[in-house]
């Protein structure tokens, strides 16, 4: 039997969603603005988008590019971050370059990359790859840097080579931090995907949003916002589950309300 408190805790995010939708509904009724449909109107428009073949293909294509870009970014960034964390020279070599790239909006490279590689999947996947890479490198770097020296000494004493130490000691020890980076990266992948589609205006979920805006189909605009929002929330929740399983051994993630009142 679940106690009332646990039940409340489990359903709190759902309650929050309902609450936010209620605020929206109320605001739209008060404002009575043609371009601001009520929450109920927007939700009603969701099924019509998801059953529209073109729109569905567009959205699925977006998600496929996102998955590929995300996976490639992990394969590239985690080893780089770990090496930076364990070698001062590697870190000194890459840090300034990364610092210069960091504040550049990756999706803003879209027009230039399109100029070079065309408007196809390659450009869009590349932009997502770039967007995801930096936080993952950064967190892997921090995670590897924090690995206790003595753990590596023990490894060396047991006869592990430098490469083996990286894979068998540094990687697992840094895993909680790496996964934090991956979680940020996942949300960023979605953001980069939407934004680059908004800029390129060729296809994808971001394009549907702005086409609807241009054509004055306001309930479609808001319905797409709900769809994209749900994607973000579901992806994050799914990843959080995987993360919690992978690092069960680690300290429980901070989740304690502390009161000093």
């Amino acid at each position: 039997m679940m106690s009332a408190a646990t039940l409340l805790k489990r359903t709190a995010p759902v309650l929050a969603c309902v609450g936010l939708l209620a605020v929206w509904q109320f605001a739209s009724l008060v404002l009575k603005n043609d371009s601001f449909p009520t929450a109920i109107e927007a939700i009603r428009a969701v099924p019509s988008i998801l059953t529209d073949k073109d729109a569905l293909i567009n959205i699925l294509a977006s998600l496929r590019r996102m998955a590929i870009g995300f996976a490639l970014a992990l394969a590239f960034s985690i080893p780089l971050g770990l090496m930076m964390g364990r070698s001062r020279a590697v870190a000194a070599f890459f840090n300034p370059l990364l610092m210069v790239i960091y504040p550049v909006p990756k999706a803003a490279l879209m027009p230039i990359i399109m100029l070079w590689l065309g408007v196809g999947d390659v450009s869009k996947t590349l932009v997502i790859f770039l967007g995801v890479s930096l936080p993952v490198i950064y967190h892997s770097f921090e995670g590897a840097k924090a690995v206790e020296e003595k753990m590596l000494w023990s490894g060396a004493a047991m006869g592990l080579s430098a490469g083996q130490r990286l894979v068998r000691i540094v990687l697992p020890a840094a895993l909680p931090e790496i996964l934090t980076g991956c979680r940020t990266g996942l949300v960023l992948a979605l953001i980069t995907m939407i934004t680059s589609e908004m800029i390129a205006r060729q296809s994808g979920a971001g394009n549907i949003l702005f086409n609807a805006l241009d054509m004055g189909q306001y309930d479609t605009v808001f319905a797409m916002i709900i769809i994209v929002g749900m994607m973000g929330i579901c992806l994050d929740a799914a990843f959080e589950r995987i993360r919690a399983r992978l690092v069960r051994w680690s300290e429980p993630q901070f989740d304690m309300p502390l009161s000093f009142s």
Partner: protein, 255 residues
């Protein structure tokens, strides 16, 4: 000794940047990339310097900066106050926590069309978008910092006669400062990125708009100028924040 190692690191770090510029120059010089697609770096930097003194460019930068600071300031004020309130009060915590869990992973840029409809195409919609994106990292790190304040620090202050309502300002806020500033740093970078993107998606001025206009007319040189400007702007702001951080946290270990 220490400064020597530091200079060594800086020099080593300049190598890849120099390499990138050399590669860039090489690609153009040896004809691998036509100058219309990839203008030589010298041309881009010359163009940047030339632009820096024009009043139109000042206008674009000013527009971007107003949005950037407007949104970032709102995010700092809201993020720090909500974060501290949620750490201090269980009732506020119970309300804030699920809402943050829902809103934090939501791609805020998807809200942009709605903001355009509600707030118009001027500064307001962009400022709100920047604030919405920068808010959560600041809020979460403030909350984390405020709720991990060492209990005995609070007890020490209470025993010295600090009233409960003053504890927030006299102990919790300064003790959470390292984490608040970390959050602000992330929020600032996000602000730079978001303001630029919002201007690219739809705007009549600003650095992002410059890039889009250049892209429409295939002016490759002019496409690079705003990109490099936003990157430099990010570096400068980050440096300023870093200086503020080392001043404010001069007492903390590893500041």
């Amino acid at each position: 000794m220490k400064t020597n190692a530091l200079t060594g690191d800086v020099l080593l770090g300049l190598v890849p940047i120099a390499l990138v510029i050399a590669l860039w120059q090489g690609l153009v010089s040896f004809g691998f990339a036509p100058a219309t697609l990839l203008p030589p770096p010298g041309l881009v930097f010359a163009r940047l310097l030339q632009q820096l003194v024009t009043s139109t460019f000042h206008h674009e930068i000013a527009a971007t900066l107003i949005r950037l600071f407007g949104g970032f300031s709102i995010a700092v004020i809201l993020g720090v106050s909500i974060g501290i309130a949620a750490a201090a009060n269980p009732a506020i915590n119970a309300v804030v926590r699920p809402i943050v869990r829902v809103l934090a992973p939501l791609p805020k840029v998807a809200l942009y069309p709605a903001l355009l409809l509600l707030l118009g195409f001027k500064h307001e919609s962009k400022i709100v978008l920047v604030a919405a994106d920068a808010l959560f990292p600041i809020l979460l790190s403030t909350y984390y910092g405020a709720s991990t304040v060492e209990q005995k620090l609070i007890w020490s202050a209470m025993a010295a006669g600090t009233p409960r309502r003053e504890i927030l300002f006299k102990v919790v806020l300064p003790a959470a400062m390292p984490s608040i500033l970390t959050g602000c740093r992330i929020g600032l970078v996000i602000s730079c990125i978001v303001v630029f993107l919002a201007e690219m998606i739809t705007s009549t001025d600003g650095l992002g708009h410059m890039l889009v206009t250049a892209a429409r007319t295939f002016q490759a040189v002019d496409m690079f100028v705003p990109l490099i400007t936003i990157s430099l702007l990010g570096l400068i702001l980050n440096g300023l924040l870093q200086a503020l951080r080392s001043y404010l946290l001069r007492g903390f270990p590893e500041a």
